[in-house]
């Protein structure tokens, strides 16, 4: 059995929409409550090493985001704005602080894995991050947790090549944009086809730009796709990419909203599908980089599906 860190902070529950939005919103504190309850009930929490994250240094955040955006976000929360840039992403007064802590959670997981004290980490964080790019937040995301973790590993732990797998049902447009021209970070996203689902990006010919040409890979999936189609996509696309890139660590943008019961999208993955996907990445990690994986929560909005999917995900991270 592998040592797996479980990164979580109770303050993640404090980022919440104001009353006027709470009826209509899906990205709620109850998501994390469901995860923690489910993992405890399944006896999985006690098998993991609990890590309570701290706040990141501003330098960790500024490796990814512009100072202008960070200041704008901070000011919006301080002012009491209830939405960011009048879009779909809600704010409360604590949101800036909690967003920092969320990025801090991804960093804490990365630190624990890179230092060797654990082999893998699962970071149960919110708000999520993969739609946020250098200069803006959107799609429920404020700071790009996985991007921050990737750059942190490169700057502080001497890691050169990071492989990011984003299996959230929405294309990780923010992460893609951040690393589009960067050959040292490989970005692979599997998501519902952009013609049918937010954010409307991530077509199969988006493969990077300039020096980063060849280190971006997208697998858009038709509505109605399920475990079988995802398995085929993984088997078809990942081996060659990983073999060529030779990563030193895997980061997973682990959204669980491709589940068939999730109302936000039209993909039909089951908890067993997430088991396969996790086991597949574990196999790749074991083969190429001593099994090192940092998994960071993104989306997943139907509470019992989320709980069941995180359960199979963590079971596979732990191994038997």
């Amino acid at each position: 059995m592998n040592r797996v860190a479980y990164v979580y902070h109770p303050d993640y529950l404090l980022h919440a929409p104001s009353l006027e939005y709470s009826d209509d919103h899906a990205e709620l504190p109850s998501r994390l409550a469901a995860i923690t309850e489910h993992l405890a009930a399944a006896g999985l929490s006690e098998r993991m090493v609990s890590v309570i994250p701290g706040y990141p240094d501003m330098s960790d955040i500024l490796r990814v985001h512009s100072r202008e955006y960070v200041q704008r976000l901070e000011a919006a929360c301080r002012r009491g704005d209830t939405v960011l840039d009048a879009e779909d992403t809600y704010l409360c007064r604590d949101s800036y602080r909690i967003a920092l802590l969320s990025a801090g959670g991804a960093i804490a997981g990365a630190r624990a894995v890179a230092s060797g004290s654990v082999r893998r980490a699962f970071c149960a964080v919110r708000p999520p991050g993969h739609h946020a790019d250098r200069d803006s937040g959107k799609g429920f995301c404020l700071l790009n947790n996985v991007a921050v973790a990737a750059r942190y590993l490169q700057a502080k732990h001497g890691i050169s090549r990071v492989f990011i797998i984003d299996w959230d049902v929405h294309h990780g447009n923010g992460t893609q944009a951040i690393f589009l021209e960067d050959p040292s970070v490989f970005f692979f996203s599997i998501h519902e086809h952009p013609s049918f689902l937010y954010p409307g990006t991530g077509r199969r010919w988006e493969t990077g730009k300039g020096a980063g040409e060849g280190t971006t890979l997208n697998s858009p999936m038709s509505p109605g796709a399920g475990d079988l189609e995802y398995r085929m996509a993984f088997e078809e696309m990942l081996p060659a990419a990983v073999e060529l890139f030779r990563p030193e660590i895997f980061l997973i943008s682990a959204g669980f909203d491709a589940h068939r019961d999730d109302p936000l999208a039209d993909i039909h993955i089951t908890a067993e599908g997430y088991r396969f996907m996790t086991r597949y990445v574990v196999g790749l990690a074991d083969r190429y980089c001593g099994g090192r994986i940092v998994s960071v929560l993104e989306g997943g909005y139907e509470l019992s599906a989320l709980g069941a999917s995180v359960e199979t995900h963590v079971q596979e991270l732990l191994g038997t």
Binding site: H131, Y198, T201, L264
Partner: protein, 219 residues
């Protein structure tokens, strides 16, 4: 949506007396496929394309053992005037993008020179430029969610949908409506700048409109 807004203003042109060799080099050097031909008085007298150039060397190319030099010799000794299309389909400065796409489609051409009222070339608009304009209008590649709604084909239906979207304070980034296979119905394609489409879809359904589920299209 006027042609003048989307046309390329720097146009590479050629004289009728120039050789096809020069024409080919100009096209290669500028990565273009057509050259408007400008006469003595500066007016548009024809257009020559890379296909015209390929056809000019065809007889030589078919002879076994023919060399590239022999093909080039043909090009050097043939004037643009000899192969150019004289009846040029062109757009005017007041034409719209709709005019341009109809011309490109109906006449099966790839580029439309844009001429002023003196007949001088002011710009050129290609098939690619036209596609780009409509890709942008459709909001493809913009961070958004897409909805497909079927409504009765009568005034007021679209207004109802749009006011529902407004009530959620969501921005519409593109909107397209076309006929539906069923009579008396229209399909509306909307892109909205939000990830949070669920409450929106619910409200539209509750108002009695049909939202097309993407899973229906899966063959």
């Amino acid at each position: 949506m006027f042609v003048v807004r989307r046309m390329r203003k720097e146009v590479v042109t050629i004289h009728p007396s120039a050789s096809l060799f020069e024409a080919r080099e100009l096209m290669r050097g500028n990565d273009i496929h057509q050259l408007p031909v400008i006469g003595e008085d500066g007016g548009l007298v024809g257009i020559v394309s890379n296909r015209d150039i390929r056809q000019a060397t065809l007889p030589v190319a078919l002879i076994r053992g023919a060399t590239e030099k022999e093909a080039d010799d043909i090009l050097r000794s043939t004037s643009v005037e000899k192969v150019m299309t004289r009846k040029v389909i062109a757009a005017t400065l007041t034409d719209t993008l709709e005019d341009a796409i109809v011309l490109l489609h109906d006449f099966r051409i790839n580029a439309l020179p844009v001429v002023d009222d003196q007949g001088k070339v002011a710009g050129i608009i290609t098939r690619t430029d036209a596609l780009k304009a409509f890709i942008e209008a459709l909001g493809v590649g913009e961070i958004s969610s897409r909805l497909e709604v079927v409504v009765p084909d009568r005034p007021g239906a679209l207004a109802a949908i749009v006011s529902i979207i407004k009530s959620f304070n969501v921005n519409i980034t593109s909107l397209l409506t076309t006929g539906h296979s069923e009579e008396e119905k229209r399909a509306i394609f909307i892109r909205v700048a939000t990830m949070n489409v669920l409450p929106l879809k619910q409200a539209i359904r509750e108002a009695g409109f049909e939202i097309l589920d993407p899973s229906c299209f899966h063959l």
